[in-house]
């Protein structure tokens, strides 16, 4: 498979990139390229102009600041996987990173690129939703923060402007009594999700759920929030029954289609299962409960 010809631009700075986006006709942004390059090779995408942002060193970061975990547009999946900060404080990110594709692809593919791609089967969008994070878009008029809830429109379609570049995604730093987790089912390494669920639970000092965020993968036309389940959880103490009902509500709110990754009914039931599993992990990580499995095997 060989791409059609294109013009290749390699800006060194965000400003340069943005002015290229402004001046060029319908450019395509190339970051990690692990989804885009196959599309170019199959000639499913035939852009005349490619703006390759890999040379913009200022976008290569994963850190905390302004009360947020911040991932620059060049933070690779492997950067998340290898980060001690992530291991310590961001359970959902730590869960998701090693489940993305395979090791070589994680070395090249970027988290922001995956969010920008807006494939409903992508993992990071669900985590961004669960954490009520933001997408930082930089355009001719400077930066704007798009709440995750307002970002995804349709498969592969977002509210990002044509002349904008996503320079960062961010999620709030966790409270001390917060926990998060991501669970995903796939058929094999390298496969996209059959279903996935990311959750974030914030507890008050009495062990009551103050706030809940649940994002779902591969069960709707975009990554989607399970708001009914979130509402059901808030103000309650964790229990198997509470989580079971939340799982049920999330499943009801999901809207999967039957495809090669499984039947709609299966995916809906798995939203239920994965939501319960992720909630248990998140509650445990927040330090509020210890989960006892009476019979595990």
């Amino acid at each position: 498979m060989k791409s059609a010809p294109f013009e290749h631009h390699e800006p060194d700075t965000v400003d340069e990139a943005v002015s290229l986006l402004e001046s060029l006709d319908d450019p395509t942004i190339l970051a990690g390229g692990q989804s885009l390059v196959p599309m170019l090779r199959f000639r499913l995408a035939n852009p005349d102009v490619v703006v390759d942002i890999n040379g913009i060193d200022s976008l290569d970061y994963l850190d905390e600041g302004d009360g947020h975990l911040r991932l620059g547009a060049l933070a690779r999946h492997a950067d998340v996987e290898d980060s001690d900060l992530i291991d310590e404080k961001y359970g959902s990110f730590a869960d998701a990173a090693p489940l993305v594709a395979d090791p070589q692809i994680r070395n090249r593919g970027t988290v922001v690129g995956s969010v920008a791609q807006a494939d409903p089967k992508g993992d990071w969008g669900s985590i961004l939703l669960a954490h009520e994070g933001e997408v930082i878009a930089t355009g001719p008029d400077g930066d704007r923060a798009i709440p995750a809830d307002e970002f995804f429109l349709l498969p592969y379609d977002t509210t990002l402007g044509e002349q904008e570049l996503i320079t960062e995604i961010r999620v709030p730093e966790p409270a001390p009594t917060e926990g998060s987790a991501y669970h995903k089912l796939k058929r094999k390494t390298g496969d996209y999700a059959m279903a996935g669920v990311g959750v974030r639970l914030v507890f008050d000092d009495d062990g009551v759920i103050e706030s809940a965020g649940i994002g779902m993968t591969a069960v709707d036309i975009t990554n989607a929030r399970a708001t009914d389940a979130e509402e059901h959880l808030e103000g309650e103490r964790p229990s198997p029954d509470l989580f079971a009902t939340a799982g049920e509500l999330a499943a009801e709110q999901s809207n999967p289609e039957s495809d090669e990754h499984g039947g709609a009914d299966y995916k809906e039931r798995m939203v239920d299962v994965l939501t319960q599993r992720a909630l248990s992990d998140a509650a445990e990580r927040a330090g509020t409960v210890t989960v006892q499995r009476r019979v595990t095997q």
Binding site: M194, R237, Y266, Q276, S280, Q292
Partner: protein, 831 residues
């Protein structure tokens, strides 16, 4: 056992223990790298250092590149093809269509089942991605650019992709160009005694029936198909380097298709990156590359993309089967019936001996002594890619083994019998060989109970049965399933009178030349694709001549230098070409005796060859001895006056019978009742391939085949939507297992030599692919059989398994067995 006239009797001295085979615990041979030794592979160095030479590595001066324009539709008439925009592009040299090929009489090619396939579509597209035009350009990218600019007008027709629908009266006609073809029916076939079988079923105490689909698979070697064709107008010679499992057969076919005399066609199969049956047929790409080279008088390279490979080249299986067993109440199987609907795609292009339209499917009585058997099959055309290749198996044996091994489990569950016990009760007894089956196969040797017993012990069977029961009783979240398969394969085609490829009998060949300095070159007609022939065939010669394995080079794959052979597939290399190598070596040994006599100044009849030392000596005088190295020198420098100089021999070996390797596999799975995910807890494989040439290579073959069996059972399927679009046509969607999906395997073996094979060996490379899928499915079914599950279709992805769990009420929710300990801090305050 009989053998062909010029074949010496099976070497009894090699079979050096009471069972007629070497003691597996003492298989270590004589230290020269002969039979039974774990010699590291002679071919490895070039592969581990990046010096392999695969077709795409070949670069020739002036070489052009070919890109094929393919139909996006599954069924459509071509109204017009306009290549002018493509031809005008930089780098594009030519655009070829069926019209151009018609000029050279190259527009069609024969399939291996004597159907006629368009090289480039002449009138009507019959499956998605079928070859419509070819663009020849100065590099790959330019060729692709050109292909994108070829404009084709299609009149799109309704397709039919399902075999059952294809046979309905109002189905779209796939092959309207064939005279007398009024529907999509290709042929009916049957085997066995229908009447006797019906009688047995009528009178049987117990009968069971099960429907099962052996889904469409693709062999998917990691190297796709490709060719570099080079017409030399000065020599009037066509040289094609191509990914071929059968270079000589391909030379004959190429000559027939092109009209170029066979002595002016040279096929070279360089290093082949896996074949598994995919590289047995001829594909349009090869022919297009050759035609383009002929027309343009430049070398032309065609390399298939992965999606092209899966979407257009030989698929495997696609047998929709119904099996029935008749038995007594205590589990003695009296009869077997099977009915198959076979989807052959748009052409009848299965790759198997021409007298066997359903391959060796009639081996479906398996390892069991069954009185009555009857099988029937109907094959249909559909608007899907042609195929039916023997993907790592002898022709259709995989489907047959799946059927019988699944049915035995169904019967065991019906009778509430242990599946190991019911097998034991029905095995062909070890003293009944040679055994003729109800469908006419002549089994050479077997000891099925021994292999099963060994597997049961290795698997700790009783322990897992107890553990399975405990988990059922405790309603545990993970169920245990134990699956068994005690398969028998039939491999090693010929005999030539029964088996042929396009009329050529399925013998094979070896040409052994010992050089004056005592080393040797063995040329064979089979073609390795990773099986290790360069090592194992050298071991056979080392064994038979007392040479060191490192002083033997094995050559293959070049039709200009190798003797004619039928190629490597159907586990036939060791049974046929391995036999030829042994026989050729023994011919050399016979001649060596006369030279030894001359050198040792003794009578020829007094010369003895001793296997242990590998030396020739005078009877009764062991110190008057001579090595093959010294004899080689004598053959060229001091040859006996009554003999021709030189030391070489050729053997064309037509096997008297096929060989019947067997084994028992036991798979223990754990099923997650919440998600339907299946984990392999234990995977035991006991194989018997007769005498073993290189245990390390055999074990490697077993591992690889088992992994493919797991792919089959758990992940792989070529799928189509109703419009005939391939929806599982690349590695994103056709799922090959990775290292994370494959467990470690516990391998074991028994040794029951083939009585008719010169070194007592049987084929082995395909046993694991054939034998493992039913063991895996049996394991998954076994985990749920207490709730009434009798079958789960492959591939058993988590959704498929979960749906079965859910149907029979075995699915669990996470809350099922979970308690939360809220801890002191989280307790609600009392006040």
């Amino acid at each position: 056992m009989s053998s062909e006239p010029d074949t010496p009797d099976a070497e009894t001295e090699y079979q050096h223990d009471d069972d007629g085979g070497p003691d597996p615990e003492k298989h270590c041979g004589h230290g020269r790298g002969g039979m039974g030794e774990e010699v590291t592979r002679k071919e490895d160095k070039r592969f581990i250092t990046g010096r392999g030479n695969y077709v795409d590595d070949i670069k020739k001066p002036g070489m052009l590149h070919c890109e094929i324009v393919r139909s996006p539709h599954a069924h459509a008439r071509i109204e017009e093809i306009d290549g002018s925009r493509a031809e005008a592009m930089d780098g594009v040299v030519a655009v070829l269509t069926a019209e151009d090929l018609l000029e050279h009489d190259l527009a069609t090619m024969p399939t291996l089942m004597d159907d006629t396939q368009d090289v480039l579509v002449n009138e009507k597209v019959k499956f998605q991605s079928q070859e419509v035009a070819a663009v020849i350009a100065t590099d790959r990218y330019a060729a692709k650019d050109g292909a994108q600019k070829v404009e084709v007008d299609y009149d799109v027709l309704d397709p039919v992709v399902d075999a059952e629908e294809a046979l309905e009266e109002d189905a779209p006609l796939v092959r309207d160009e064939l005279e007398d073809q009024e529907d999509n029916h290709i042929f009916d076939w049957d085997t066995g005694d229908k009447e006797a079988t019906e009688t047995v079923f009528d009178e049987a105490a117990v009968t069971v029936e099960e429907d099962m689909l052996y889904q469409r698979l693709h062999p998917a070697p990691i190297e796709t198909c490709g060719a570099v064709a080079d017409w030399d107008p000065g020599m009037d010679k066509m040289t094609v380097h191509m990914t071929s499992q059968a270079p000589h057969a391909h030379r004959t076919l190429f000559s027939q298709v092109s009209g170029i005399p066979e002595h002016k066609v040279r096929i070279v199969s360089p290093d082949v990156g896996g074949g598994f049956g995919n590289k047995v047929p001829i594909y349009p790409g090869y022919v297009v590359a050759a035609a383009a080279s002929y027309v343009l008088e430049e070398p032309v390279k065609w390399i298939e993309e992965r999606s092209e490979n899966i979407q257009t080249t030989g698929f495997a299986r696609d047998y929709d089967m119904t099996g029935e067993l008749a038995a007594t109440e205590d589990g003695v199987i009296e009869g077997v019936k099977v009915d198959v609907l076979a989807n052959h795609g748009a052409y009848n292009a299965a790759a198997q001996p021409s007298k066997f339209p359903a391959g060796f499917f009639n081996i479906f009585t398996g390892s069991y002594d069954i009185e009555a058997a009857y099988g029937s099959l109907t094959a249909a055309f559909t608007n899907t890619a042609p195929g039916g290749v023997a993907y790592r198996c002898s022709f259709r044996v995989t489907e047959a083994v799946y059927l019988i091994e699944r049915m035995v489990k169904v019967l065991a569950d019906e009778l509430e019998m242990d599946p190991a016990e019911i097998r034991r009760r029905n095995f062909i007894p070890s003293d009944a060989f040679p055994y003729e089956s109800a469908t006419g196969w002549n089994y050479d040797s077997g000891d099925y109970e021994k292999a099963l017993d060994k597997a049961l012990e290795m698997a700790d069977y009783d322990h897992y049965r107890e553990e399975q029961q405990r988990r059922i009783e405790e309603d545990a979240d993970k169920l245990i399933g134990i699956g068994i398969s005690s398969f028998t394969e039939v491999v090693g085609a010929g005999p030539g009178k029964q088996c042929d490829i396009a009329g050529i009998e399925m013998f094979d060949s070896a040409d052994l030349r010992v050089n004056p300095t005592g080393n040797a070159v063995l040329r064979v007609g089979v073609q390795t694709q990773g099986q290790g022939h360069e090592t194992t065939f050298a071991q056979i010669v080392a064994e038979e001549l007392g040479m060191d394995v490192d002083s033997i080079t094995v050559e293959h794959g070049d039709t200009d230098t190798e003797p004619y052979g039928l190629g490597t597939y159907g586990s036939r290399s060791t049974p046929v070409a391995g036999a030829a190598a042994a026989v050729a070596a023994r011919k050399v040994r016979d001649k060596a005796k006369s030279i030894a006599a001359n050198e040792l100044e003794a009578a020829e009849e007094d010369i003895e060859w001793e296997r242990e030392s590998g030396e020739f000596h005078v009877a009764g005088a062991p110190d008057r001895s001579i090595t093959i190295t010294e004899i080689a020198a004598g053959a060229y420098m001091n040859h006996p006056g009554d003999e021709e100089p030189g030391l070489e021999a050729v053997n064309y070996y037509d096997p008297p019978e096929m060989t019947y390797p067997f084994g028992s596999y036991i798979v223990i799975v754990e099923i997650d009742r919440e998600t339907g995910e299946v984990d392999f807890e234990k995977f035991v494989a006991v194989d018997d391939c007769g005498n073993r040439i290189n245990p390390m290579i055999i074990e490697g073959q077993i591992h690889g085949g088992l992994a493919q069996g797991i792919g089959t059972a758990m992940l792989e399927k070529v799928t189509y939507d109703d419009n005939g679009n391939v929806t599982g046509g690349d590695f994103m969607n056709y799922l090959l297992p990775t290292a994370n999906e494959i467990p470690n395997f516990d391998t074991g073996h028994t040794v029951t030599p083939s009585p008719h094979h010169p070194i007592g060996a049987k084929g082995v490379g395909e046993s694991p692919t054939v034998g493992s899928p039913p063991a895996i499915v049996n394991a998954v079914v076994d985990a749920m059989s207490h709730a009434g599950v009798t079958h789960v279709e492959m591939p058993m992805t988590p959704d498929v398994v979960w749906e079965t769990l859910d149907e029979v009420g075995l699915a669990h929710q996470p809350a099922h067995n979970v308690e939360f300990d809220l801890g002191d801090d989280a307790e609600p305050a009392d006040d």
